[in-house]
Amino acid sequence: MAKSIETRTEVITFGNDGIVRCKVKPTEAHTLADAEENVRATAELTEGRRLPLILDARKAKGITREAREYYTGPANAAVVMATAMIIDSSVGKIIGNFLIRVNRPPFPFRLFSDEDSAYAWLVEIRAAHADDAAGAR
């Protein structure tokens, strides 16, 4: 059964398919405190495992520099295997490009315009990780 946590800026759901879905609420820009709260909530739902994450940022209103750094820093990398960010606006495209090109997350990060493509990409990433883990054993 899917578990869910709602924070000030996101609704975070962890389903049976092993993928975390973060839906950005149409609130104001994410601050560092929001980023910390969201990463903490994700870790709580996944019980500390590194899992693929769909970030639905279609309602995103902005993000502070500190929050961008936190989302692309070691704390988030500890709970996120890869992020597929869904966008459908110029705001989303700008935020996504900043995250990719300026903040450079240490995990795979890609922009999508729909959830199906995002999901398919994350499944591929997860399979590659599983292969790597099997090879390592």
């Binding site: 209103k61 993000i63 606006s89 935020i95 900043f98």
Partner: protein
């Protein structure tokens, strides 16, 4: 879609951004007046003839609703356009500030405003934050580098002092001992004393070179410009280098063809450049010729003296000819092992030439030899000063 002035249908009347500037208060009032006129006309000659007071009331209510809806749409559009104008103004201000390297201004993101404009505002704000952060990081890095460089210069100055004091004692005492023992001691003792003296002088020169480059990098060297007699400096320098040239079996030639004998310049630094070039030439030439040619360029509006040091030594490969002017660099690593030196001489010489407003260049062919030319602009000493 361009909207007609008398279009009162609120549903089809949504204006796009292109007609934003047409919707002014005056324009709205004019349109409202036209609406009123249409209402009045409709009441006088209704399209559907009211059959009863109830029909008439219904017609009036419908028209009133239409007018209210149209008016609300127009006012909303006017407000949106005003916000858009205001936001554009803000964006221009932020861009202007960014262009002036002021990253403190932030554009406002308005709820319900055009997505593209909000995207521009968010993008500009993020760029400003990143630029402010990067600039601050660069300034910190620069300040740290400057502080480290100052610390390095101080360290070098202190250390060179600490080294030079005992080295001068070694040089002085070895010369004293040599002189005292010159007539009576075992030749092997004299040879060893000579070696001690030579090694100590070598170390002293290395320290002096290191100190010089450190001062040059810190822009702490100033030229001591005084009237000098050029020919005497050249003669002194060649006399100093002659033993070194002969030790390597080289012939030392010197020609001076100048009109301006007395110039304003820094004798010590000029001598240092010539000694560096000549000792390099002697170092890399064996049983050959080292020649110094000093010439004044004829006919030039500005007086230039060229000091060309030519040798018949090992030469320098084309691809290494610029590298040799970089600090701590010789043509290749093996050069240092075979010929010694810090690789600072040419760097110092070039920088000194540049400080004098001149240049130091090289032309060379491997196996044939090299020519280093220090070209320096000079000012003649006024006649009254020479006398």
């Amino acid at each position: 879609m361009q909207r007609e002035p008398d279009d009162v249908d609120g549903r089809s009347g949504r204006s796009d951004a292109s007609d934003a500037h047409e919707v002014s208060d005056t324009h709205l009032v004019a349109r409202l007046e036209r609406l009123r006129a249409r209402v009045a006309a409709a009441l006088e000659r209704p399209t559907v003839e009211p059959r009863s007071p109830t029909d008439l009331a219904s017609l009036v209510e419908r028209l009133e609703r239409d007018v209210d809806a149209s008016l609300a749409a127009l006012i909303s559009e006017r407000d949106r356009n005003r916000r858009m104008d205001h936001q554009f103004g803000e964006l221009v201000e932020v861009v202007t500030a960014l262009a002036g390297l002021d990253y403190s201004q932030q554009a406002t993101v308005y709820e319900g405003q055009d997505d593209a404009i909000n995207a521009l505002a968010i993008g500009l704000n993020m760029m400003g934050e990143e630029l402010a952060n990067s600039t601050a990081a660069l300034i910190r890095a620069r300040d740290e580098a400057l502080a480290a460089n100052r610390a390095k210069s101080t360290f070098l100055a202190n250390m060179s002092h600490e080294f030079r004091t005992p080295l001068n004692a070694i040089i002085g005492y070895s010369e004293l001992l040599y002189d005292e023992q010159a007539g009576s001691a075992d030749p092997l003792v004299l040879r060893d004393l000579g070696r001690i003296n030579s090694a100590a002088r070598h170390v002293l020169n290395l320290i002096q070179d290191t100190l010089d480059i450190s001062k040059i990098e810190a822009d702490k060297i100033e030229l001591d410009v005084r009237p000098i007699e050029l020919r005497r400096i050249v003669e002194d320098t060649t006399a100093t280098i002659l033993p070194t040239a002969e030790q390597r079996g080289n012939r030392l030639d010197c020609t001076v063809e100048i009109v301006t004998e007395h110039i304003l310049g820094d004798a010590t630094r000029l001598r240092q450049i010539l000694l560096n070039l000549l000792s390099n030439a002697c170092k890399f030439t064996e049983n050959g010729v080292v020649a110094l040619a000093v010439t004044e360029r004829p006919g030039a509006a500005e007086r230039w003296i060229d000091f060309a040091v030519r040798d018949t030594g090992i030469g320098i490969p084309k691809d290494k000819q610029q590298r040799i002017f970089e600090a701590f660099t010789q043509a290749d690593g093996s050069t240092t092992r075979i010929y010694g030196g810090t690789g600072l001489g040419l760097t110092i010489s070039r920088r000194l030439c540049e400080m004098m407003g001149g240049t130091l260049t090289v032309s060379s062919v491997v196996g044939v030899g090299s020519t280093f030319t220090a070209a320096i602009p000079v000012l003649p000493v006024p006649e009254s000063v020479i006398l």
